[in-house]
């Protein structure tokens, strides 16, 4: 199920939703490669929704902000809805002070809420608290 992406970030597929994330050490090349790869996957997998978990991202500067906005626009043109989930509060504060609202980018408090918004529901037999356990 896990397909290792060339950027190192896994892109999981859940029905017609793609789930992926950004790691903290995001350099410019990786950011661009990530956007390209995700756009390819949306098209090849016929994805209708994309969840991007950014809970590990420690800063979003205007370069990454632009990448997220452009990725959102490209995905929408391809017919997929993007939700960016789990932004750290200091990152949100800093973005506002930079004057960047991530216009057009849909957000969610965390990955689970983002997935729910994209119409995916946890199967009833899945035990509670799996999310925490997975953090090791």
């Amino acid at each position: 199920m896990t397909v290792p992406a060339s950027t190192g970030v896994p892109i999981l597929r859940l029905g017609d939703v793609l789930v992926t994330g950004l790691l903290n050490e995001l350099d410019d090349k990786t950011a661009v490669a990530f956007a390209d790869e995700l756009t390819e996957r949306i098209s090849s997998d016929g994805a209708r929704g994309v969840l991007i978990d950014i809970s590990r991202l420690e800063i979003i500067d205007s370069y990454v902000a632009r990448m997220l906005m452009e990725l959102t626009t490209m995905s929408r043109l391809l017919g997929a809805r993007v939700i960016v989930a789990g932004m750290q509060p200091p990152v949100a504060i800093t973005l506002v002070e930079l004057g960047l609202q991530l216009t057009g980018v849909e957000t969610a408090l965390n990955a689970e809420q983002g997935l729910t918004a994209l119409g995916w529901h946890r199967s009833p037999q899945a035990p509670e608290g799996v999310l925490r356990d997975a953090h090791r």
């Binding site: 859940l14 994330g21 590990r56 370069y63 002070e97 004057g99 999310l131 953090h135």
Partner: protein, 169 residues
């Protein structure tokens, strides 16, 4: 495991740890000895340099005792200014200084390049103004993220930005 659990596990494997706790990433040592730290200069000549600069500035904010929000502000401002020196200024340097007054300490970023300079500084500081492909929020945004902000620029000679953030107490 839920898909999100699986994703987080995979991301933890890639970074070799659990969810990031920025404050804990580095143990403060220089900060507690009371000695002033010497300035340190970093080249800004490549995209890798931008990453190195971000690491160095983050570490310095932690040693200076900045809280997580101020850490994030200063690292983000450094990222914007260093990228400007690299993209618009054709490369340059970023120096981290440790200003200290009688009753306060802080962190100062000196970002210098020998590029074309900025012809109209007021306009360049305006949100949304760019001569490149950026969003045009870097310069003005960095000014808002820092307590003090000065730009010294001469057409054809280069640009130096000096930006200071004081540790809140």
């Amino acid at each position: 495991m839920t898909p999100i659990g699986e994703l987080h596990a995979a991301m933890a494997d890639l970074t070799g740890d659990g969810p990031e706790k920025p404050e804990k990433r580095e143990k403060s040592e220089a900060g507690v000895t009371g000695g002033r730290e010497a300035p340190s200069m970093y080249p800004v000549e490549s995209e890798e340099d931008l990453l190195t600069v971000r690491h160095a500035v983050r570490a310095a904010t932690i040693r200076a005792g900045f809280g997580i929000v101020d850490q994030t502000r200063v690292v983000t401002a450094a990222s914007e200014l260093a990228r400007n020196a690299y993209i618009h200024g054709g490369g340059g340097t970023l120096t981290i200084e440790h200003p200290a007054g009688p009753d306060r300490t802080g962190l100062r970023l000196v970002v210098r390049d020998k590029g074309p300079g900025i012809a109209d500084l007021e306009t360049a500081l305006t949100d949304g103004y760019t001569t490149g492909a950026g969003l045009g929020h870097g310069l003005g945004g960095a000014r808002r993220l820092m307590d003090e902000f000065e730009v010294d620029t001469t057409e054809g000679r280069g640009t130096t930005v000096v930006a200071t953030r004081w540790a809140s107490r």
